[in-house]
Every structure is written in C-alpha cells, then in structure tokens.
C-alpha cells in the first residue's frame, strides 16, 4: 500500500478541521471513545452540533479558544492508500506552521469559503504551496450548502483562484465543490451537485498518481553516518549509511564522492535484511565503495557526469520564523542534508508580498512569517541543487546560534550571489 502525505490549509472559519474530522469519520477512522469525548465537549460548550474540529484540536488552549495553534498530524487509511495529514493552522501569525506542514507533503488541500471566495489567506496558502514545491494542489470550495449548491458560484470562485495561481508554479491543480459539514463530495459524490463531473475528494486522494513525483534521475546520496563497527566480527567493515535523496544506484555504478571528487564504484548496497540490487528514494541503506576513500558525514555520493552545484555562495527563498527580524550581516548555523555549516546573510534581495506577489526591494528586514529572497555565504561548500529539481538537496534550515532555535526554512534558487 502506498503512502500519501498531504497538508490542509484554510482560515479559521473555512471549516478545515471539520473537513478532516469528516474524512476520518466517514472513512471510519474515528473511534467511538474519541467521538464520545468530542460529543461531551461540544455539549459542554453549548454547540448545537457535534463539532468534528475538536478531533484535531489536541491542546487545551485550542479547545478553549476554538482555534488550531500547531501542526497536528492525523492518520487514516482506506483499502487503497495510507494517508498522513499535516493539519496546519490558518491564521496569519502561524504561516510558519503551514510551511512546516507543507515541507513533507505530496499534496496540499486549500479550503475556500464559497461565500467569500478568494481571500488573503487563500493567496498566502497557494503561494506557500508553490514555494514549497508541492506537486499537487486541491482547492476545496467549501460550504456549498450555504450558496444553494450553486454551480455558477463554484465557477466564479474557481476563476478567481485560477487568475491568481497562474502566476505560481503549481503543476497540478484540482477544484472540488464540497460541504465538509454535510459531507457532500468528501467521501461520496454529492447528489446535491449533479452538475459537478469530477470525483469526490477522497476518491481523488486515493487515485492520484504520485509515484512519478520522486526524482529518480539525479543520484544524490548524502552520507549520514560512517559505519565502522570495529568489532572482531566486522573488523575492517566500512560503509556509508544514509537515505537516498534522489536517483537510483546499483552495485557496479561509477560514482564520485564530494567534496574530494575521487571516482570509484559502488561495491555493494547493504541493509540489515541483506544486499540490494538497487536503492532509490526514500530507502535508508548502507553503501560500500570499491576504494578506500576518506569519506565523512556530510559528504555526497553522485555520478561523475551528474553533479550538484558545489559552492559557498547561494541564493534562496526563505520563510522567516523568528520574532527577531532577519537583517543583512546576520550569522547563522545552516543545516543542509547531513551537513552543518555557518552562513552569513550577504544580501536581502527582496521581501515577497504574498498577496500581490510584489517584490519589495527596499525591505530592510524580514519579520516573523515574512518570505523573501536572500543571498548566503557559507563557511564550507555545500552540495546542492535548485529546490524545484530536488526538494532534499535544495532545502535547508537556519538556526540561531545563541538560542538554538530554528529561525528559517530555505529553498535554494541558484548558486552564487
């Protein structure tokens, strides 16, 4: 069974938690005791219906305030697929959570209230999904029951969203009219909207082709850990453990190890379950090389004629996640694949207004939840690709060296300043 990871985004009142509750409930993934707890809380709050949002709001403050604070992960399965949902809050101040939830997602669901149409939140979420390189976007036009199941209203909203998103890099976009509250078009096709010729949301999630989303062409294997047991039994054993970031490798393949650049061959690919004929994402394996080279954590195995950029200068889109603003001259720790380095922010090119996509070139700083283009210089060379070609070797995090907090998510655009 295949695994599909998706994130959900929407404003507080768009019914996002209700939709998730509905997916879990209608696919029979909600247990009776969980439902009873929700019913008790709904009753105690004086709601006149069972608020399925309470299923996903796990923290006390969330239940009391009726909001979602943090990314919550939910799990369900149908006979066709297993799903992991990253439920991300919609308020402006929690954009960093949306970026977090999207970073591991294959697909994003954006909810739009059919009465309001596109809002600032919709633009923000579509922009983030595009920046995070999400291959598939589903726009659920929700609360169709409140606009009389109107086809023309659905088409108006679709046109608004399409007009905005034509300026974004989203390869696959699907629109589905739903009512999360009543369940129409969530699991089953809605009899109330016979004019809609598409499938239900769940059917779409089950059938979507995702196997081709992985990069199986450009071999990238960041060395995570050098395996040298030094036990009597494995005295001379030396292997390189890691998770395949992209491409396919097989024993006998000619490879180079960066940064040294020496050529060698893959002697074997090993796991605790035995040797493998091939390794590809997302497998965690041990690679053994034909020659004894000096290889450490943070090095990268690739093909001689298909290498990443090796550079100490890079330009990237970053989402800033700290209360302390980012300014030119800041020195931060950077984690990229399995390598830590230090980075200097040498230039702030622009701050992106994610409502208008306007580039503010006069912005002196990036504040919490701002997205902008920065140039970085690192203390040691990194081996990277553009994020749109490779999410694993094109992404990084920035860490404040004094507080150890994660302060930014970065997506590499190109080498050099």
């Amino acid at each position: 069974m295949e695994l599909l990871r998706f994130a959900t985004a929407g404003s507080v009142d768009d019914g996002k938690s209700t939709l998730i509750g509905r997916l879990l409930y209608d696919s029979k993934q909600i247990f009776e005791d969980q439902l009873e707890a929700v019913e008790r809380t709904s009753l105690a709050r004086g709601d006149d219906y069972v608020d399925l949002a309470l299923l996903t709001d796990g923290l006390r403050a969330e239940r009391e305030q009726g909001i979602t604070i943090d990314v919550a992960y939910r799990y369900f399965a149908t006979p066709k697929r297993k799903f992991i949902i990253a439920d991300t809050p919609g308020h402006t101040q929690h954009t960093r959570n949306m970026v977090t939830g999207c970073s591991t997602a294959d697909l994003v669901i954006i909810l739009v209230d059919s009465r309001n149409g596109i809002t600032e939140q919709t633009r923000r979420h579509a922009t983030i999904a595009s920046l995070l390189g999400i291959p598939h976007l589903v726009v659920c036009v929700n609360k169709m029951d409140l606009v009389g199941w109107s086809e023309s209203r659905f088409e108006e909203v679709r046109a608004e969203v399409e007009a905005f998103s034509s300026r974004l890099a989203i390869a696959d976009m699907t629109f589905i009219p739903i009512s999360a509250l009543t369940g129409d078009n969530v699991v089953e096709r809605s009899p109330a909207m016979p004019w809609f010729k598409g499938t239900s949301l769940l059917h779409h999630l089950e059938e979507l082709h995702i196997a081709s989303d992985r990069n199986l062409i450009d071999l990238r294997f960041p060395v995570q850990w050098v395996v040298r047991p030094r036990s009597a039994e494995h005295h001379d054993y030396r292997g390189y453990a890691g998770q395949v970031a992209a491409g396919v490798m097989q024993p006998g393949d000619e490879v180079v190890v960066l940064p040294l650049g020496f050529s060698t061959r893959i002697a074997s690919i090993e796991t605790a379950d035995g040797p493998l004929e091939a390794a590809f994402p997302p497998m965690s394996v041990i690679v053994r090389l034909a020659d004894d080279l000096d290889v450490s954590r943070g090095d990268l195995i690739c093909r001689p004629r298909n290498r990443p950029v090796v550079s100490q200068e890079l330009s990237a889109m970053v989402c800033w996640m700290s209360e302390q603003p980012l300014r030119v001259g800041a020195k931060l720790a950077i984690k990229h694949t399995s390598r830590w380095a230090r980075a200097l922010v040498s230039e702030l090119q622009y701050r992106l207004d994610i409502n208008t996509l306007h580039r503010d070139r006069d912005a002196g700083e990036l504040r919490l939840n701002d997205i902008g283009r920065v140039d970085l210089r690192t203390t040691t060379p990194l081996f990277f690709d553009e994020y749109r070609h490779n999410r694993a070797t094109g992404s990084f995090i920035l860490v404040d060296e004094s507080t150890s907090a994660t302060v930014a998510a970065g997506m590499i655009r190109r080498a050099g300043a």
Binding site: L59, A61, S284, I286
Partner: protein
C-alpha cells in the same frame, strides 16, 4: 524495476534515518525499553539502523514496581540475548528513598510518579537524546509532538514553543541540561505497528495474545486481579471473574486494562485491530481518563 515503496517500507526508512541522525549528532543517547510492543518495534529498528555493528547505547526502563511479570521476563531476556546494557529507573526505589510519596487512594496508580524517576535517570546519566516509542495517533496531545522534541532543563515540554520541523532536517542543537525526546515511530499507527510486527516476525510478551486471566470490571475497563489491583471492598460491581483477554497496550498493572479477545496470534490481532471501534488508549488506559488534557498535562511535566 518498479521502484515502488510500501507504506511500511517508507515508515521503516524514516525511522532508521531518525535513529542514525541521533547516533551521528548526539553524545549520550538512550532508548526507552519497557518490553511493550512499541518499544519492541523501536528496538528492532535500532538494531537495523546500527547493523552490522551493535546498538551503541543503553536501554532504559522506568519500572513502577507494578509491572506484568511476563513483560519483565521478556525485557530481561531480550536485553540478555542482544547483549544490551539495561538501566532501570525504579519508582519503588524513589519511594523508598523518600523522594516520592505514594498516592494511597483507591484506584490510584504510580503512572504519574514515573516522570520523576525518568527525569532523574536522564539527569544523572546526562542523556541528551532519549528514544521513545510514542506515536502521534495514540492521543490528541501526542498528535502535536515533534519527532525531535526539546525538553528544557526541568524536562518539561512546552507545546506552544516547539521548533518547526522541516523536511527531514532535524535541528538537534540544545543547551547544556536540555535534552531531546526522539520519536522514530511518530508517523506509525497501531495497525502499522502490528503489520510490521507480523512482517518482521518481532517477538512480543505473551500477554499481547489471548489468554485466560482473573479480572474484574471497573469504570468499564477490565483490570487484572493481582498483587496491586483488587476490587474495592464491598464493591459488588467489581466481582472478579475468569475471562479470555489480551492487552492492546502494556503499562503499569494498576492502570492498564485488558480487552476481551480470542486473538491468539499476530494475524488474528491485526484482524481485530483493523475492525476495532475503540482507540488503543481509550480501551485500556485509566491514566488518560483523568481529564480531557490528562496526557498534555503529564507531557508538560516530562512524561514519556
């Protein structure tokens, strides 16, 4: 070649990556091993991540003194077979030393007292990464948990100040005295765990499978009749009886309930789990029933 990956293969690859990241970036990891099914799976994954070498860190058990003897036997046998170093943080020891006082009210358990012994063990051995078998599907506060979850110098979890966790780039930086709880099974469900146990042939304590036991009913849950749990005096509705039961979770005998079941092997347990309408902890854990936020409150204090 199709380059297909099943969901269990993907979950295993992710967990192995997380474990290796800890080995590469921390100085003093430890793995919490209770002998329960999640920790048995966790240990199995650690063996795979470290292969062909041995597991280079000890395992830690917080022992309430009220454990199922079958589970302690299993724990000790596995540790011996694998040549691991077992550290036991004893709640009884802490009570004997006067560090903790026991709640003697009927129905009380030592569940909450475990936090003290766990934090003391972490502090005295200077562990900087503590592997746990917690899963996000278990409980709604756990659904908000990070894979690498920072604990302050008091061992406390602050859900509102969690670091964003992006891609598979884990920020392992911390200050002296702080530590991380690391949850490689974060994205696994109860059913995934059982399917993996079946696929890998992972051994479990016998109490996970149907057996005959003397039990009594309290608050709708089946508790084992034993040295630490007995019906309340004069409670007619707590009359003991013999039943065929198994355990879905394994913890302290005083707060872990059995479920009536005829599932005698892994395949039958999977069929039952897939059809179950009651959540794992909801069916069996008195410790979560204290209040809506029982788990959140305990986690904030430093619980598993």
């Amino acid at each position: 070649m199709s380059y297909q990956t099943s969901h269990l293969d993907a979950l295993e690859a992710e967990a192995v990556h997380v474990i290796r990241e800890v080995i590469a970036e921390f100085e003093r990891p430890v793995l919490m091993f209770s002998g329960g099914k999640d920790s048995a799976v966790l240990l199995h994954l650690a063996l795979k991540a470290c292969w062909p070498g041995p597991v280079p860190f000890p395992v830690l058990h917080v022992d309430t003194g009220h454990n199922f003897p079958e589970v302690i036997d299993f724990r000790d046998r596995r540790v011996a077979e694998l040549g691991l170093r077992l550290e036991v943080a004893s709640v009884q020891g802490a009570i004997d030393r006067g560090e903790l006082s026991e709640d003697r009210r009927p129905g009380a358990s030592r569940n909450r007292l475990q936090t003290h012994s766990l934090l003391r063990a972490i502090e005295s051995a200077h562990y900087d990464a503590v592997f746990g078998g917690g899963r996000r599907d278990e409980e709604k506060a756990r659904a908000k948990e990070r894979v690498f979850s920072l604990r302050d110098e008091f061992g406390q979890w602050d859900p509102r100040r969690q670091r964003p966790e992006l891609w598979n780039l884990y920020n392992t930086r911390h200050r002296p005295g702080e530590h991380f709880r690391v949850f490689p099974l974060s994205n696994w469900t109860e059913l995934d765990v059982w399917q993996y146990i079946a696929g890998q042939g992972i051994e479990l304590p016998t109490i996970y499978f149907a057996h005959t036991r003397h039990v009594f009913r309290r608050d709708g849950m089946l508790l084992a009749l034993g040295p630490f749990t007995a019906p309340r005096d004069g409670a007619a509705d707590e009359a003991p009886f013999s039943a065929t039961v198994r355990y879905r979770t394994v913890g302290d005998m005083t707060c872990t309930a059995a479920v009536e079941s005829l599932a005698a092997d892994v395949v039958q347990v999977i069929a039952e789990t897939a059809a179950s309408r009651i959540s794992e902890r909801g069916a069996t854990r008195a410790d979560d029933r204290a209040s809506e936020a029982a788990m959140e409150d305990r986690k904030r204090e430093g619980y598993f």
